[in-house]
Amino acid sequence: MSQLKIHTSLNLRNVGCPLNFVKTKLMLEQLSDGQILEIIIDAGEPIRNVPRSIKEEGHRIVSVEEYSDGAFRLLIQKNGGLK
């Protein structure tokens, strides 16, 4: 997955729910279909809620990486949802 071209990045550390998802959503709206958004979200509520909401909106999480502090890096492909 390392060869994926990241179009934009959002550092959402210390951004709570649901603002982290709203920011993700707004950024995705500015991308074209198939482009990749990188986000970093915290452990706890954010990692429980954000991936699920991204999926529900029809996007695809193509890569997930956990940092040592428990935060997560997600690569999201706009409107690349699994069926």
Partner: protein
């Protein structure tokens, strides 16, 4: 004089009694169906409407407001079972209210010893946690079972997920949506999101590979893992209703415990029929008694479990627990 137990329906109201000298204006047939609750105030009743699952289409709501402005107090009360109640209705207007509400197919609820209006959460239609369609079921159950006469009141509710907003453990019969997950190794990328999404600790991921291990005994069947998984490696294995029986609130609350798992939508009417027929037969001669009280008698509990197992096989769980007292006044 109007009997103060008028809401209990049958045999409590004498048709011969003169009410303010206006016998002819009261339709006692409609009184008997219940839904009319005597107030403290002379001649005043609360009219309880039938709003299954607490969903009231705007077309009906407009008519209800119109009728309330004409015949009731200056507010409505939302009952604990999700129905709209019109307070301060003079009994002389019952008939007019019935007829005007009937124009929009708005019915009156029931009181007394019978199956009540079923309650429900908003369900899977738009609630992200919802697993099962509570509103569809509540409509069906209301149509098929509302008003069925039984030894005592009988309350049914539907919750769409294990958060259980409809408090299925406090109902005579409660249905709660549930989904059992299954994991596909091939598509799993070992991202660990599922183990973070599961707040019950039912999924732990291996430190090196990130591949999950599932502990079904900790699983509430909420489906968070399925919704969170980026690659759809967690999928639905079976979905349905977990059923609790014998609960009640009131002066002496009882907690109903789970008796069945993953009952399908199609089997819900048969499940209700089996329970209420059993209650009808075994409540005979015991006076006004709730099913949860009967089910605290060990042989009665064992009998019901046998009856259900004959009918629903392994959907009935191993060693289900009978309803238990939850005394709140004499702790």
């Amino acid at each position: 004089m109007v009997d103060k137990f008028i809401e209990d329906g049958k045999n409590k109201v004498s048709v011969d009694t003169k009410i303010e000298g206006k016998v002819g204006e009261i339709d006692f047939g409609t009184l008997k169906s219940g839904g009319l609750i005597k107030q403290r105030q002379k001649d005043m009743f609360t009219v309880r409407l039938r709003c299954p699952g607490g969903r009231v289409p705007l077309s009906k709501l407009e008519k209800i407001v119109e009728v309330a402005k004409k015949y009731a107090g200056d507010y409505v009360h939302l009952s604990f079972r999700q129905s709209i109640e019109l307070p301060y209705v003079d009994y002389r207007n019952f008939k007019a209210i019935y007829e005007q509400l009937r124009q929009v197919d708005q019915k009156i609820a029931s009181c007394g010893p019978r199956a009540r209006v079923p309650t429900a959460c908003s369900g899977c239609e738009y609630n992200p946690n919802g697993l099962m369609d509570t509103q569809k079921m509540v409509k069906l159950v209301d149509e098929q079972f509302f008003g069925y006469e039984l030894p005592h009141k009988f309350k049914i509710s539907f919750s769409g997920c294990p958060i259980d907003c409809a408090r299925t453990n406090e109902m005579d019969l409660g249905f709660q949506g549930a989904v059992k997950p299954q994991w596909d190794e091939e598509t799993c990328i070992g991202c660990r999101i599922c183990s973070k999404a599961c707040i019950e600790g039912a999924i732990e991921c291996a430190p090196e590979t990130g591949k999950p291990k599932y502990y079904p005994e900790k699983c509430l069947y909420c489906g968070d893992c399925i919704r969170a998984c980026p690659t759809n490696s967690w999928q639905e294995r079976i979905k349905g209703w977990n059923v609790r029986v014998g609960g009640r609130h009131g002066r002496h609350p009882i907690i109903g415990h789970k008796i069945a798992e993953f009952i399908s939508d199609e089997d819900v009417p048969r499940f209700i029929t089996t329970i209420i027929k059993w209650y009808e037969n075994n409540g005979k001669g015991r006076g006004r008694i709730r099913i949860g009280v009967i089910l605290q008698i060990p042989e009665m509990w064992n009998m019901l479990v046998r009856v259900l197992r004959d009918e629903f096989g392994d959907k009935i769980i191993e060693n289900p627990k009978p309803p238990a007292k939850n005394e709140i006044h004499f702790e």
